[in-house]
Symmetry: C2
Subunit: 336 residues, 2 copies
C-alpha cells in the first residue's frame, strides 16, 4: 500500500451515477493530496466522465466492473451472485486491505449486507450500526442505529453509544458528546422494555457522557449529540425528519407563489431563506457511516450530488487519520 489513504467509490450507485459520483471523486482528490480514489464501475463510461476534468492522475484509479446491483434487488442474493458488481468488488478491496474505506450511494440493503458479510465486523462488535448525521438548529446529531438491526438488544445499544461517541468526538469534532436514548418521556422509568433495560447500562457506562432520555421532539433543537436507538425507531425518526422537512418546505414554496404580493416577497427573502435551509442540510458532513467494520463503509443518499460524494470521501480520510477503528477497539471492546 502507498502512503495514500485509499478510498473505493461505487461509481454506479445512486440516482446520479456515474456523473455526480465521478465529479465528487475529482473534487475530493483536488482538495486533499493524501487520498487516492479507486473508482469502480463501467470502464468506458467512467473514462468518458473523467476525461472532462483536471486532477492529479495518480490520485484516481479506475477499477472496471461489469455488474450493477439495482436498488430493488433482494440484497443477500445480489451480494452473493454479482461478484463483479461495484459494491461487491469495492467491499472486497476493503476486506483485502487494498482500501481503507468504501463509499456508495447504491442500495442501502446491499451496503448493509455487504458490510457485514464481505468487509466483516471488528472482533467483539455484535452488530454494526448505520449512523446518519441529522441536522439540528445548533449543528448536527448522530442517529445510531438506522440500519438493519431491528429488534436489537441492550448490549448492542451500549456498543452503539460508545461507537457513536468516538465518531462524534473524533470525526465531527464535538468534545465529550452528549448521548441520549430516544424515549417517550424524559423520566427514567418511562419507555418500552428495550429502553428500560438499556438505560442503566448507559447510565453506568463511564466511557460516555450519558444525559438520559431524549424525546424525539427535542432532537431537532439540538438537545443531544448522539441519539441511541434501535434501528426501527431510528428509521422512524430519520424518515419523519426527512418527510416533514420536505413537505413543509415544498408547501411554503407553493404558498409563496400563490399571490403577486407573496411572489415579490419571495424574491426578497430568497437569499436569507436559502442560507437558513442550507443549515439544515447535513450533506456537508458526508454520508452515513456503517460503524464497527474492519474498514469504513459510508452510505450516501441515493440522491447524492458531487458535494456529498466529495464530503463522504473526505470523511473517510478523517476516519483513517483519526484512527477511529483503533479507538473503537479501545473504547468498545477492551472496556467490556
Amino acid at each position: 500500500m502507498s502512503e495514500y489513504i485509499n478510498v473505493a467509490v461505487d461509481a454506479m450507485g445512486g440516482d446520479n451515477a456515474p456523473m455526480e459520483i465521478v465529479k465528487g471523486a475529482v473534487d475530493a482528490v483536488n482538495e486533499a493530496g493524501n487520498v487516492k480514489v479507486m473508482l469502480l464501475g463501467d470502464e468506458r463510461a467512467l473514462h468518458s466522465e473523467l476525461n472532462q476534468y483536471q486532477y492529479p492522475r495518480e490520485q484516481i484509479e479506475l477499477v472496471p466492473t461489469t455488474e450493477v446491483i439495482e436498488m430493488a434487488e433482494p440484497p443477500v442474493n445480489a451480494i452473493r451472485k454479482k461478484k463483479d458488481s461495484s459494491i461487491v468488488k469495492g467491499m472486497m478491496m476493503v476486506r483485502e486491505g487494498k482500501c481503507d474505506a468504501f463509499v456508495s450511494a447504491g442500495s442501502t440493503g446491499a451496503v448493509l449486507v455487504g458490510g457485514q458479510v464481505l468487509v466483516g465486523r471488528i472482533k467483539g462488535i455484535e452488530r454494526p450500526p448505520l449512523a446518519p448525521l441529522i441536522p439540528t438548529k445548533t449543528g448536527v446529531c448522530l442517529l445510531i442505529d438506522c440500519g438493519a438491526n431491528v429488534d436489537a438488544r441492550p448490549s448492542h445499544l451500549l456498543q452503539f453509544a460508545k461507537m457513536g461517541s468516538v465518531y462524534m468526538e473524533h470525526v465531527i469534532g464535538i468534545k465529550n458528546p452528549k448521548v441520549g436514548i430516544a424515549n417517550i418521556g424524559a423520566e427514567e422509568e418511562k419507555g418500552n422494555a428495550l429502553v428500560k433495560e438499556t438505560y442503566p447500562l448507559l447510565k453506568n457506562c463511564p466511557d460516555i457522557n450519558f444525559v438520559g432520555s431524549v424525546e424525539a421532539r427535542d432532537i431537532p433543537a439540538g438537545a443531544v449529540d448522539v441519539v441511541v436507538c434501535e434501528a426501527f425507531t431510528g428509521n422512524m425518526i430519520l424518515k419523519t425528519y426527512e418527510g416533514v422537512g420536505a413537505t413543509l418546505i415544498s408547501a411554503v414554496k407553493e404558498g409563496l407563489m400563490s399571490t403577486t404580493r407573496s411572489k415579490i416577497g419571495a424574491l426578497l427573502i430568497k437569499p436569507a431563506l436559502k442560507k437558513t435551509l442550507k443549515k439544515f442540510d447535513a450533506n456537508q458532513y458526508g454520508g452515513a457511516p456503517l460503524l464497527g467494520l474492519k474498514g469504513l463503509v459510508v452510505k450516501t443518499h441515493g440522491s447524492a450530488k458531487a458535494i456529498e460524494v466529495k464530503n463522504s470521501i473526505l470523511q473517510c480520510v478523517t476516519f483513517k487519520e483519526q484512527a477511529i477503528n483503533e479507538k473503537i477497539k479501545e473504547k468498545v471492546i477492551l472496556t467490556e
Copy 2:
C-alpha cells in the same frame, strides 16, 4: 339524562387553564345547540371567567372540584388519591353515564390511566389507543397508537386499525380510509418482529382498506389516512413531526429577520405564509381521542387555546351523533 349531548371538560388542565378552556366551552355552546358542557374546576375561578361571556345558561353547568392533578405527578398515584380533581371527577361522570365524553388538556399520563381505570374499556377491546390527528399536505392522518401501549401485540394493532378506520370514516368523514402500517420499507418482508406478525392480520382483515406498509417519510405527504403502529413508534413519529416543524419554522422566521431586505420580504409574504402554515395545524379537528372506552375521552394539547378546546367539544358531539362506540363494537368486537 337530557336530550343534550353532555361533555365534561377539565377546566384546570393545560398551560392556559382555566381562561382558554372556559372560552372554548363558551364558543362550543354558542356554536352547537345540542351540547351541554360540564365545566370541572375551581368554582370561584370558573365563575369569574364565565361572567365575561354571553351564552345560553342552560348549556354550561359548573361542577366544582377542589384538587388539581399536576403535569409531573405520577399518574397512577394521582388518579388513586385525588378523588376531587377535575380529571377523576370528570371521568367518573362518564363512567356513571352522566356524561358522554370528557375533554382534558391536562396530564397525558393521568388521562391515559384514568381512561382505562375509571371510564373503563368496552368489553372485548384489549387496549385503548390514543390517536392524534397529524396534519399532512392533503389533509389529516390518524396516528394510532401514540398512547401508553408500548410493546403492544399484533392483535392490539389489528384492533387499532379497525377503530381508526371507524373514526376516520365517521368522525372526520373520509370514505373508506386507507390504512397503512408504519414500517422501515414498503416491501412485505420488511419490518421488526411485531410488524411482520401484524402485517398478515391486517392484509387478511376484510373490514379495513389496508394498503400495506407506509414509510415515515411518506406520511407528511398524505400517503395514508390511518397509520397503525405501536405506541413507542407512534410517539417517535408524532414528536419528530412536532419538533422538526417547530424548529424549521422558527429557523425560517429568524432567517427572515436577518437582513433589511428579508424583513421587507417577510412583510409581503406574511399572509401567504400564515395561510400555508395554518394548513399544518391539526387543531381545527380537535384533540386526540382515546378510543375503545365506554365513553369518549379526548386529550387536547397542553398548550391548547380556546379554538382547540371548542373543536374538541364539537368532536365529542360528532362522536356521539355518529354512534362511534356502537360502530366500534360492531366492527371490532363482533367480527373477531
